[in-house]
Symmetry: C2
Subunit: 278 residues, 2 copies
Amino acid sequence: MLATLDPPLGLLVGEELSRHGVTVATGVAVETVGRRGQRLSITGSAGFRAETDLVLVATGVRPEAGLAAAAGIETGKWGALRVNRAMETNVPHVYAAGDCAETYHRLLERCVYLPLGSTAHKQGRVAGENAAGGEVTFSGTLGTQAVQVFDLVAARTGLRDAEAREAGFDPLTVEVEAWDHKVYYPGAHTLHVRITGDRGTGRLLGAQIVGHRAAEVSKRVDVFAAALFNRMAVAGLSDVDLSYTPPLSSPWDAVQMAAQGWVTEQSRTVPVPNEVID
Amino acid sequence: MLATLDPPLGLLVGEELSRHGVTVATGVAVETVGRRGQRLSITGSAGFRAETDLVLVATGVRPEAGLAAAAGIETGKWGALRVNRAMETNVPHVYAAGDCAETYHRLLERCVYLPLGSTAHKQGRVAGENAAGGEVTFSGTLGTQAVQVFDLVAARTGLRDAEAREAGFDPLTVEVEAWDHKVYYPGAHTLHVRITGDRGTGRLLGAQIVGHRAAEVSKRVDVFAAALFNRMAVAGLSDVDLSYTPPLSSPWDAVQMAAQGWVTEQSRTVPVPNEVID
Protein backbone atom coordinates (compact mmCIF):
# COMPACT_ATOMS: atom_id res chain seq x y z
CA MET A 1 0.00 0.00 0.00
CA LEU A 2 1.07 3.54 -0.73
CA ALA A 3 4.13 2.76 -2.82
CA THR A 4 5.38 6.31 -2.32
CA LEU A 5 6.51 5.16 1.15
CA ASP A 6 9.01 2.44 2.08
CA PRO A 7 7.38 -1.01 2.55
CA PRO A 8 7.56 -1.09 6.41
CA LEU A 9 5.54 2.15 6.51
CA GLY A 10 3.21 1.11 3.69
CA LEU A 11 2.44 -2.00 5.76
CA LEU A 12 1.16 0.21 8.60
CA VAL A 13 -1.18 1.94 6.15
CA GLY A 14 -2.45 -1.46 4.93
CA GLU A 15 -3.10 -2.54 8.53
CA GLU A 16 -5.07 0.67 9.15
CA LEU A 17 -7.28 -0.09 6.12
CA SER A 18 -7.88 -3.69 7.30
CA ARG A 19 -8.69 -2.42 10.81
CA HIS A 20 -11.51 -0.37 9.24
CA GLY A 21 -12.94 -3.28 7.23
CA VAL A 22 -11.29 -2.53 3.88
CA THR A 23 -10.23 -5.58 1.87
CA VAL A 24 -6.90 -4.80 0.23
CA ALA A 25 -5.97 -6.54 -3.03
CA THR A 26 -2.52 -5.73 -4.39
CA GLY A 27 -0.82 -7.10 -7.50
CA VAL A 28 -4.17 -7.39 -9.31
CA ALA A 29 -4.81 -5.81 -12.72
CA VAL A 30 -8.48 -4.87 -13.16
CA GLU A 31 -9.73 -6.27 -16.49
CA THR A 32 -13.47 -5.53 -16.70
CA VAL A 33 -16.06 -3.38 -14.91
CA GLY A 34 -19.68 -4.24 -15.78
CA ARG A 35 -23.26 -3.78 -14.53
CA ARG A 36 -24.85 -6.56 -12.51
CA GLY A 37 -28.37 -5.41 -11.62
CA GLN A 38 -28.05 -2.33 -9.39
CA ARG A 39 -24.39 -3.06 -8.64
CA LEU A 40 -21.05 -3.11 -10.46
CA SER A 41 -19.12 -6.29 -11.12
CA ILE A 42 -15.32 -6.27 -11.48
CA THR A 43 -13.03 -8.96 -12.81
CA GLY A 44 -9.25 -8.93 -12.72
CA SER A 45 -6.08 -10.97 -13.07
CA ALA A 46 -5.47 -14.11 -10.99
CA GLY A 47 -9.22 -14.83 -10.83
CA PHE A 48 -10.10 -11.60 -9.01
CA ARG A 49 -13.90 -11.03 -8.69
CA ALA A 50 -15.76 -8.35 -6.75
CA GLU A 51 -19.16 -6.62 -6.60
CA THR A 52 -19.53 -3.05 -5.46
CA ASP A 53 -21.71 0.07 -5.58
CA LEU A 54 -18.96 2.41 -6.71
CA VAL A 55 -15.74 2.14 -8.68
CA LEU A 56 -13.24 4.94 -8.16
CA VAL A 57 -10.53 4.96 -10.82
CA ALA A 58 -7.26 6.42 -9.48
CA THR A 59 -4.60 5.65 -12.04
CA GLY A 60 -2.34 8.68 -11.85
CA VAL A 61 -2.00 11.87 -13.82
CA ARG A 62 -0.76 12.43 -17.36
CA PRO A 63 -0.01 15.93 -18.70
CA GLU A 64 -2.26 17.36 -21.43
CA ALA A 65 0.29 19.28 -23.48
CA GLY A 66 -1.25 18.97 -26.94
CA LEU A 67 -2.11 22.64 -27.46
CA ALA A 68 1.28 23.85 -26.30
CA ALA A 69 3.15 21.19 -28.31
CA ALA A 70 1.23 22.26 -31.45
CA ALA A 71 2.50 25.78 -30.79
CA GLY A 72 6.09 24.56 -30.85
CA ILE A 73 6.70 24.17 -27.13
CA GLU A 74 9.06 21.34 -26.19
CA THR A 75 7.93 18.44 -24.04
CA GLY A 76 10.18 16.09 -22.08
CA LYS A 77 10.22 12.35 -21.45
CA TRP A 78 7.02 12.42 -19.36
CA GLY A 79 5.14 14.36 -22.05
CA ALA A 80 5.06 17.48 -19.87
CA LEU A 81 6.17 20.94 -20.97
CA ARG A 82 9.84 21.65 -20.43
CA VAL A 83 10.52 24.83 -18.46
CA ASN A 84 13.51 26.56 -16.94
CA ARG A 85 13.57 27.78 -13.32
CA ALA A 86 11.84 30.99 -14.40
CA MET A 87 8.98 28.65 -15.55
CA GLU A 88 9.59 29.85 -19.11
CA THR A 89 9.23 27.39 -21.98
CA ASN A 90 11.56 27.24 -24.99
CA VAL A 91 9.30 29.84 -26.66
CA PRO A 92 10.29 33.24 -25.20
CA HIS A 93 7.61 34.99 -23.11
CA VAL A 94 5.54 31.80 -22.88
CA TYR A 95 5.40 30.38 -19.37
CA ALA A 96 3.95 27.13 -18.03
CA ALA A 97 3.05 25.95 -14.53
CA GLY A 98 1.08 23.17 -12.86
CA ASP A 99 0.23 19.62 -13.92
CA CYS A 100 1.10 20.25 -17.60
CA ALA A 101 4.71 21.20 -16.78
CA GLU A 102 7.85 19.58 -15.45
CA THR A 103 9.02 20.48 -11.92
CA TYR A 104 12.54 21.39 -10.83
CA HIS A 105 13.62 19.16 -7.92
CA ARG A 106 15.77 20.98 -5.38
CA LEU A 107 17.68 17.88 -4.22
CA LEU A 108 18.07 16.12 -7.59
CA GLU A 109 18.95 19.46 -9.23
CA ARG A 110 17.05 18.46 -12.38
CA CYS A 111 13.44 18.39 -13.55
CA VAL A 112 10.97 15.62 -12.69
CA TYR A 113 7.25 15.15 -13.30
CA LEU A 114 5.52 15.50 -9.93
CA PRO A 115 2.08 17.11 -10.35
CA LEU A 116 0.90 18.36 -6.94
CA GLY A 117 -1.38 21.25 -6.00
CA SER A 118 1.10 22.81 -3.59
CA THR A 119 3.77 22.81 -6.32
CA ALA A 120 1.36 24.22 -8.92
CA HIS A 121 0.66 27.22 -6.67
CA LYS A 122 4.37 27.95 -6.24
CA GLN A 123 5.09 27.53 -9.95
CA GLY A 124 2.09 29.68 -10.90
CA ARG A 125 3.30 32.56 -8.76
CA VAL A 126 6.75 32.41 -10.36
CA ALA A 127 5.33 32.13 -13.90
CA GLY A 128 2.86 34.95 -13.28
CA GLU A 129 5.42 37.30 -11.74
CA ASN A 130 7.90 36.69 -14.57
CA ALA A 131 5.21 37.04 -17.27
CA ALA A 132 4.44 40.44 -15.73
CA GLY A 133 8.06 41.55 -15.98
CA GLY A 134 9.51 40.18 -12.75
CA GLU A 135 12.66 38.14 -12.32
CA VAL A 136 12.05 35.32 -9.88
CA THR A 137 13.21 31.73 -9.75
CA PHE A 138 11.27 28.62 -8.73
CA SER A 139 13.02 27.20 -5.64
CA GLY A 140 12.05 23.66 -6.53
CA THR A 141 10.08 20.81 -5.08
CA LEU A 142 11.34 18.63 -2.25
CA GLY A 143 8.82 15.93 -3.11
CA THR A 144 6.83 16.61 0.06
CA GLN A 145 3.54 14.67 0.21
CA ALA A 146 0.97 13.86 2.90
CA VAL A 147 -2.18 11.75 3.06
CA GLN A 148 -4.65 10.90 5.81
CA VAL A 149 -5.93 7.28 5.87
CA PHE A 150 -8.65 6.83 8.53
CA ASP A 151 -6.83 7.63 11.81
CA LEU A 152 -3.32 7.57 10.34
CA VAL A 153 -1.32 10.22 8.55
CA ALA A 154 1.49 9.20 6.22
CA ALA A 155 3.85 11.90 4.98
CA ARG A 156 7.24 12.20 3.36
CA THR A 157 9.70 14.75 2.05
CA GLY A 158 12.91 14.48 0.07
CA LEU A 159 14.45 11.31 -1.35
CA ARG A 160 14.04 7.69 -0.36
CA ASP A 161 16.99 5.32 -0.27
CA ALA A 162 16.77 4.05 -3.86
CA GLU A 163 16.07 7.53 -5.24
CA ALA A 164 19.07 8.92 -3.37
CA ARG A 165 21.34 6.11 -4.62
CA GLU A 166 20.20 6.69 -8.19
CA ALA A 167 21.01 10.39 -7.78
CA GLY A 168 24.61 9.58 -6.83
CA PHE A 169 24.39 9.81 -3.05
CA ASP A 170 25.58 7.06 -0.67
CA PRO A 171 22.35 6.80 1.33
CA LEU A 172 21.78 5.32 4.77
CA THR A 173 18.15 4.90 5.90
CA VAL A 174 17.29 4.33 9.56
CA GLU A 175 13.83 3.79 11.10
CA VAL A 176 13.13 4.96 14.64
CA GLU A 177 9.96 4.71 16.73
CA ALA A 178 9.38 7.65 19.04
CA TRP A 179 6.48 8.96 21.12
CA ASP A 180 4.82 12.11 19.78
CA HIS A 181 4.74 13.50 23.35
CA LYS A 182 5.68 12.59 26.91
CA VAL A 183 4.10 9.22 27.60
CA TYR A 184 3.03 10.20 31.15
CA TYR A 185 0.61 12.66 29.57
CA PRO A 186 -2.54 10.91 28.22
CA GLY A 187 -2.97 10.24 24.52
CA ALA A 188 0.62 9.62 23.45
CA HIS A 189 1.05 7.91 20.07
CA THR A 190 4.01 6.19 18.46
CA LEU A 191 5.51 7.81 15.41
CA HIS A 192 7.35 5.67 12.87
CA VAL A 193 10.07 7.88 11.42
CA ARG A 194 12.43 6.85 8.61
CA ILE A 195 15.35 9.15 7.83
CA THR A 196 17.53 8.93 4.75
CA GLY A 197 20.88 10.74 4.82
CA ASP A 198 24.16 10.67 2.97
CA ARG A 199 26.50 8.33 4.83
CA GLY A 200 29.70 10.20 4.05
CA THR A 201 28.67 13.85 4.42
CA GLY A 202 25.86 13.35 6.95
CA ARG A 203 23.55 15.50 4.82
CA LEU A 204 19.81 15.00 5.32
CA LEU A 205 18.21 13.64 2.13
CA GLY A 206 14.68 12.69 3.15
CA ALA A 207 12.23 11.63 5.84
CA GLN A 208 9.02 9.62 6.04
CA ILE A 209 6.63 9.50 9.01
CA VAL A 210 3.54 7.41 9.70
CA GLY A 211 1.53 8.03 12.86
CA HIS A 212 -1.84 8.87 14.37
CA ARG A 213 -3.62 11.91 12.90
CA ALA A 214 -3.48 13.57 16.35
CA ALA A 215 0.32 13.27 16.39
CA GLU A 216 1.19 16.28 14.21
CA VAL A 217 2.76 14.01 11.58
CA SER A 218 2.54 16.33 8.59
CA LYS A 219 4.01 19.36 10.35
CA ARG A 220 6.86 17.21 11.68
CA VAL A 221 7.56 16.28 8.06
CA ASP A 222 7.51 20.02 7.35
CA VAL A 223 10.28 20.54 9.93
CA PHE A 224 12.29 18.02 7.90
CA ALA A 225 11.28 19.89 4.72
CA ALA A 226 12.56 23.20 6.14
CA ALA A 227 15.82 21.45 7.08
CA LEU A 228 16.13 19.93 3.58
CA PHE A 229 15.44 23.30 1.99
CA ASN A 230 18.43 24.67 3.91
CA ARG A 231 20.72 21.68 3.15
CA MET A 232 21.09 20.77 6.81
CA ALA A 233 22.93 17.72 8.10
CA VAL A 234 20.88 15.07 9.94
CA ALA A 235 22.93 15.80 13.08
CA GLY A 236 22.04 19.50 12.83
CA LEU A 237 18.37 18.76 13.54
CA SER A 238 19.26 18.22 17.20
CA ASP A 239 20.59 21.78 17.39
CA VAL A 240 17.27 23.38 16.40
CA ASP A 241 15.29 24.83 19.32
CA LEU A 242 11.97 23.05 18.69
CA SER A 243 9.00 23.62 20.96
CA TYR A 244 8.48 21.46 24.04
CA THR A 245 5.49 20.98 26.29
CA PRO A 246 4.54 17.52 27.67
CA PRO A 247 1.13 17.14 25.91
CA LEU A 248 2.67 17.91 22.50
CA SER A 249 6.30 16.84 22.40
CA SER A 250 9.41 15.84 24.34
CA PRO A 251 12.56 17.78 25.27
CA TRP A 252 14.07 16.03 22.25
CA ASP A 253 11.25 16.01 19.73
CA ALA A 254 10.53 12.79 17.80
CA VAL A 255 12.18 14.47 14.79
CA GLN A 256 15.38 14.83 16.83
CA MET A 257 15.22 11.37 18.40
CA ALA A 258 15.00 9.91 14.91
CA ALA A 259 17.92 12.09 13.78
CA GLN A 260 19.98 10.87 16.74
CA GLY A 261 19.13 7.26 15.81
CA TRP A 262 20.39 7.93 12.30
CA VAL A 263 23.64 9.51 13.55
CA THR A 264 24.27 6.55 15.88
CA GLU A 265 23.83 4.14 13.00
CA GLN A 266 26.02 6.26 10.73
CA SER A 267 28.81 6.29 13.33
CA ARG A 268 28.78 2.48 13.29
CA THR A 269 29.43 2.38 9.57
CA VAL A 270 31.74 5.35 9.01
CA PRO A 271 35.16 5.10 10.66
CA VAL A 272 35.78 8.04 12.99
CA PRO A 273 39.43 9.08 13.55
CA ASN A 274 40.64 8.43 17.09
CA GLU A 275 40.67 11.58 19.16
CA VAL A 276 43.40 12.40 21.62
CA ILE A 277 41.92 13.55 24.93
CA ASP A 278 44.20 16.01 26.68
CA MET B 1 -2.64 36.40 30.27
CA LEU B 2 0.54 34.71 29.15
CA ALA B 3 2.76 37.77 28.97
CA THR B 4 5.25 35.83 26.83
CA LEU B 5 2.85 36.45 23.92
CA ASP B 6 1.70 39.73 22.40
CA PRO B 7 -1.52 41.09 24.04
CA PRO B 8 -3.93 40.20 21.14
CA LEU B 9 -2.87 36.54 21.46
CA GLY B 10 -2.80 36.60 25.27
CA LEU B 11 -6.42 37.82 25.09
CA LEU B 12 -7.40 34.63 23.24
CA VAL B 13 -5.84 32.56 26.02
CA GLY B 14 -7.77 34.59 28.63
CA GLU B 15 -11.02 33.97 26.72
CA GLU B 16 -10.29 30.23 26.63
CA LEU B 17 -9.86 30.24 30.42
CA SER B 18 -13.14 32.14 30.93
CA ARG B 19 -14.93 29.74 28.54
CA HIS B 20 -13.92 26.93 30.92
CA GLY B 21 -15.13 28.69 34.07
CA VAL B 22 -11.81 30.09 35.24
CA THR B 23 -11.97 33.56 36.85
CA VAL B 24 -8.93 35.52 35.73
CA ALA B 25 -7.54 38.28 38.00
CA THR B 26 -4.60 40.22 36.58
CA GLY B 27 -2.73 43.13 38.13
CA VAL B 28 -3.30 41.76 41.63
CA ALA B 29 -0.46 41.15 44.10
CA VAL B 30 -1.25 38.29 46.47
CA GLU B 31 -0.61 39.43 50.06
CA THR B 32 -1.72 36.61 52.36
CA VAL B 33 -2.68 32.94 52.12
CA GLY B 34 -4.32 31.53 55.28
CA ARG B 35 -6.43 28.62 56.50
CA ARG B 36 -10.19 29.09 56.75
CA GLY B 37 -11.63 25.81 58.03
CA GLN B 38 -10.96 23.14 55.39
CA ARG B 39 -10.21 25.77 52.73
CA LEU B 40 -7.58 28.39 51.94
CA SER B 41 -8.28 32.09 52.08
CA ILE B 42 -6.33 34.56 49.93
CA THR B 43 -6.13 38.32 50.18
CA GLY B 44 -4.44 40.63 47.72
CA SER B 45 -4.05 44.20 46.55
CA ALA B 46 -7.06 46.32 45.49
CA GLY B 47 -9.32 44.45 47.90
CA PHE B 48 -8.85 41.04 46.29
CA ARG B 49 -10.42 38.18 48.29
CA ALA B 50 -10.82 34.50 47.33
CA GLU B 51 -11.36 31.08 48.90
CA THR B 52 -10.00 27.92 47.35
CA ASP B 53 -8.94 24.30 47.97
CA LEU B 54 -5.51 24.64 46.41
CA VAL B 55 -2.95 27.40 45.89
CA LEU B 56 -0.37 26.78 43.19
CA VAL B 57 2.56 29.20 43.41
CA ALA B 58 4.12 29.81 40.00
CA THR B 59 6.47 32.75 40.38
CA GLY B 60 9.28 31.89 37.97
CA VAL B 61 12.69 30.31 38.34
CA ARG B 62 15.86 31.65 39.98
CA PRO B 63 19.22 29.93 39.52
CA GLU B 64 20.82 28.22 42.54
CA ALA B 65 24.49 28.97 41.88
CA GLY B 66 25.79 29.17 45.46
CA LEU B 67 28.05 26.10 45.40
CA ALA B 68 29.60 27.04 42.06
CA ALA B 69 30.05 30.68 43.06
CA ALA B 70 31.83 29.57 46.27
CA ALA B 71 34.21 27.60 44.02
CA GLY B 72 35.12 30.77 42.13
CA ILE B 73 32.80 30.41 39.16
CA GLU B 74 31.50 33.70 37.75
CA THR B 75 27.80 34.51 37.69
CA GLY B 76 26.12 37.13 35.51
CA LYS B 77 23.38 39.70 36.03
CA TRP B 78 20.65 37.08 36.51
CA GLY B 79 22.72 35.21 39.12
CA ALA B 80 23.25 32.29 36.73
CA LEU B 81 26.63 30.77 35.89
CA ARG B 82 28.41 32.41 32.98
CA VAL B 83 29.45 29.98 30.27
CA ASN B 84 30.94 30.21 26.80
CA ARG B 85 29.44 28.38 23.81
CA ALA B 86 31.35 25.25 24.81
CA MET B 87 29.32 25.46 28.08
CA GLU B 88 32.61 25.93 29.96
CA THR B 89 32.72 28.29 32.95
CA ASN B 90 35.60 30.66 33.70
CA VAL B 91 37.23 27.79 35.62
CA PRO B 92 38.90 25.56 33.01
CA HIS B 93 37.45 22.03 32.69
CA VAL B 94 34.37 22.99 34.71
CA TYR B 95 31.18 22.98 32.63
CA ALA B 96 27.64 24.08 33.46
CA ALA B 97 24.27 23.42 31.81
CA GLY B 98 20.59 23.75 32.60
CA ASP B 99 18.63 26.08 34.89
CA CYS B 100 21.76 27.18 36.82
CA ALA B 101 23.48 28.53 33.70
CA GLU B 102 23.04 31.32 31.18
CA THR B 103 21.90 30.45 27.66
CA TYR B 104 23.38 31.70 24.39
CA HIS B 105 20.62 33.21 22.22
CA ARG B 106 21.13 32.53 18.51
CA LEU B 107 19.33 35.68 17.32
CA LEU B 108 20.52 38.12 19.99
CA GLU B 109 24.07 36.69 19.72
CA ARG B 110 24.56 37.09 23.46
CA CYS B 111 23.63 35.19 26.63
CA VAL B 112 20.22 35.41 28.31
CA TYR B 113 18.63 33.58 31.24
CA LEU B 114 15.93 31.32 29.78
CA PRO B 115 15.65 28.11 31.81
CA LEU B 116 13.73 25.53 29.73
CA GLY B 117 13.91 21.73 29.70
CA SER B 118 14.51 21.49 25.96
CA THR B 119 17.44 23.92 26.26
CA ALA B 120 18.88 22.09 29.28
CA HIS B 121 19.01 18.85 27.26
CA LYS B 122 20.90 20.53 24.42
CA GLN B 123 23.30 22.30 26.77
CA GLY B 124 23.89 19.11 28.76
CA ARG B 125 24.89 17.20 25.66
CA VAL B 126 27.39 19.91 24.68
CA ALA B 127 28.80 20.18 28.23
CA GLY B 128 29.06 16.41 28.55
CA GLU B 129 30.72 15.89 25.19
CA ASN B 130 33.26 18.66 25.85
CA ALA B 131 33.94 17.45 29.41
CA ALA B 132 34.76 14.06 27.87
CA GLY B 133 37.27 15.59 25.45
CA GLY B 134 35.03 16.62 22.55
CA GLU B 135 34.91 19.98 20.82
CA VAL B 136 31.31 20.99 20.20
CA THR B 137 29.51 24.30 20.36
CA PHE B 138 26.03 25.07 21.68
CA SER B 139 23.98 26.36 18.75
CA GLY B 140 21.86 28.56 20.95
CA THR B 141 18.27 28.99 21.93
CA LEU B 142 15.68 30.60 19.67
CA GLY B 143 13.38 31.21 22.63
CA THR B 144 10.90 28.60 21.40
CA GLN B 145 8.08 27.91 23.88
CA ALA B 146 4.71 26.15 23.77
CA VAL B 147 1.86 25.65 26.21
CA GLN B 148 -1.55 23.97 26.02
CA VAL B 149 -4.45 25.78 27.75
CA PHE B 150 -7.64 23.66 27.66
CA ASP B 151 -8.38 23.33 23.92
CA LEU B 152 -5.90 25.99 22.79
CA VAL B 153 -2.19 25.81 22.10
CA ALA B 154 -0.08 28.96 22.30
CA ALA B 155 3.46 28.81 20.98
CA ARG B 156 6.22 31.16 19.93
CA THR B 157 9.77 31.21 18.63
CA GLY B 158 12.31 33.98 18.13
CA LEU B 159 11.91 37.63 19.05
CA ARG B 160 8.81 39.75 19.57
CA ASP B 161 8.60 43.31 18.31
CA ALA B 162 9.98 45.08 21.40
CA GLU B 163 12.72 42.47 21.90
CA ALA B 164 13.77 42.85 18.26
CA ARG B 165 13.82 46.65 18.50
CA GLU B 166 15.92 46.50 21.66
CA ALA B 167 18.36 44.21 19.84
CA GLY B 168 18.88 46.79 17.10
CA PHE B 169 16.54 45.45 14.42
CA ASP B 170 13.85 47.55 12.69
CA PRO B 171 10.96 45.16 13.35
CA LEU B 172 7.61 44.94 11.63
CA THR B 173 4.98 42.65 13.20
CA VAL B 174 1.91 41.51 11.26
CA GLU B 175 -0.97 39.31 12.45
CA VAL B 176 -2.78 37.05 10.00
CA GLU B 177 -5.69 34.69 10.55
CA ALA B 178 -5.57 31.54 8.44
CA TRP B 179 -7.37 28.19 8.40
CA ASP B 180 -5.31 25.23 9.56
CA HIS B 181 -6.71 23.18 6.65
CA LYS B 182 -9.11 23.48 3.70
CA VAL B 183 -12.37 24.74 5.12
CA TYR B 184 -14.47 22.40 2.94
CA TYR B 185 -13.03 19.51 4.95
CA PRO B 186 -14.72 19.16 8.38
CA GLY B 187 -13.01 20.39 11.52
CA ALA B 188 -11.10 23.40 10.21
CA HIS B 189 -9.85 25.83 12.87
CA THR B 190 -8.57 29.39 12.64
CA LEU B 191 -4.93 29.98 13.47
CA HIS B 192 -3.85 33.40 14.74
CA VAL B 193 -0.30 33.89 13.47
CA ARG B 194 1.89 36.90 14.31
CA ILE B 195 5.16 37.27 12.41
CA THR B 196 7.95 39.66 13.32
CA GLY B 197 10.57 40.40 10.67
CA ASP B 198 13.19 43.02 9.96
CA ARG B 199 11.60 45.69 7.77
CA GLY B 200 14.71 46.57 5.82
CA THR B 201 16.31 43.17 5.19
CA GLY B 202 13.13 41.07 5.27
CA ARG B 203 14.78 38.64 7.70
CA LEU B 204 12.45 36.50 9.83
CA LEU B 205 12.87 37.37 13.51
CA GLY B 206 10.04 35.55 15.26
CA ALA B 207 6.56 34.05 15.14
CA GLN B 208 3.71 33.44 17.57
CA ILE B 209 0.69 31.20 16.95
CA VAL B 210 -2.47 30.59 18.97
CA GLY B 211 -5.00 28.01 17.78
CA HIS B 212 -6.94 24.86 18.59
CA ARG B 213 -4.92 21.94 19.94
CA ALA B 214 -5.98 19.89 16.90
CA ALA B 215 -4.48 22.48 14.53
CA GLU B 216 -0.81 21.44 14.76
CA VAL B 217 0.14 24.79 16.29
CA SER B 218 3.39 23.78 17.97
CA LYS B 219 4.84 22.02 14.94
CA ARG B 220 3.94 25.01 12.77
CA VAL B 221 5.97 27.12 15.20
CA ASP B 222 8.74 24.56 14.73
CA VAL B 223 8.70 25.22 10.98
CA PHE B 224 9.32 28.88 11.87
CA ALA B 225 12.04 27.75 14.31
CA ALA B 226 13.80 25.76 11.57
CA ALA B 227 13.59 28.83 9.31
CA LEU B 228 14.98 31.09 12.06
CA PHE B 229 17.80 28.64 12.74
CA ASN B 230 18.79 28.99 9.08
CA ARG B 231 18.44 32.82 9.01
CA MET B 232 15.72 32.72 6.37
CA ALA B 233 13.83 35.73 5.08
CA VAL B 234 10.08 35.87 5.77
CA ALA B 235 9.48 35.77 2.00
CA GLY B 236 11.56 32.59 1.74
CA LEU B 237 8.98 30.62 3.75
CA SER B 238 6.74 30.58 0.66
CA ASP B 239 9.46 28.77 -1.28
CA VAL B 240 9.58 25.78 1.08
CA ASP B 241 7.76 22.69 -0.17
CA LEU B 242 5.52 22.07 2.86
CA SER B 243 3.10 19.15 2.93
CA TYR B 244 -0.44 19.56 1.62
CA THR B 245 -3.52 17.42 1.99
CA PRO B 246 -7.00 18.96 2.53
CA PRO B 247 -7.67 17.57 6.06
CA LEU B 248 -4.35 18.92 7.36
CA SER B 249 -3.30 22.01 5.43
CA SER B 250 -3.74 24.16 2.33
CA PRO B 251 -1.68 24.48 -0.86
CA TRP B 252 -0.20 27.52 0.85
CA ASP B 253 0.11 26.46 4.48
CA ALA B 254 -1.03 28.89 7.21
CA VAL B 255 2.68 29.51 7.90
CA GLN B 256 3.07 30.70 4.30
CA MET B 257 -0.17 32.70 4.20
CA ALA B 258 1.03 34.58 7.29
CA ALA B 259 4.43 35.11 5.67
CA GLN B 260 2.72 36.51 2.55
CA GLY B 261 0.66 38.85 4.74
CA TRP B 262 3.87 40.11 6.32
CA VAL B 263 5.54 40.66 2.93
CA THR B 264 2.50 42.58 1.64
CA GLU B 265 2.60 44.85 4.68
CA GLN B 266 6.36 45.31 4.36
CA SER B 267 6.00 46.32 0.70
CA ARG B 268 3.61 49.09 1.79
CA THR B 269 6.21 50.60 4.11
CA VAL B 270 9.47 50.03 2.22
CA PRO B 271 9.83 51.90 -1.08
CA VAL B 272 10.49 49.48 -3.97
CA PRO B 273 12.45 50.82 -6.96
CA ASN B 274 10.37 51.04 -10.14
CA GLU B 275 11.12 48.22 -12.52
CA VAL B 276 11.40 48.67 -16.25
CA ILE B 277 9.36 46.02 -18.06
CA ASP B 278 10.91 45.16 -21.40
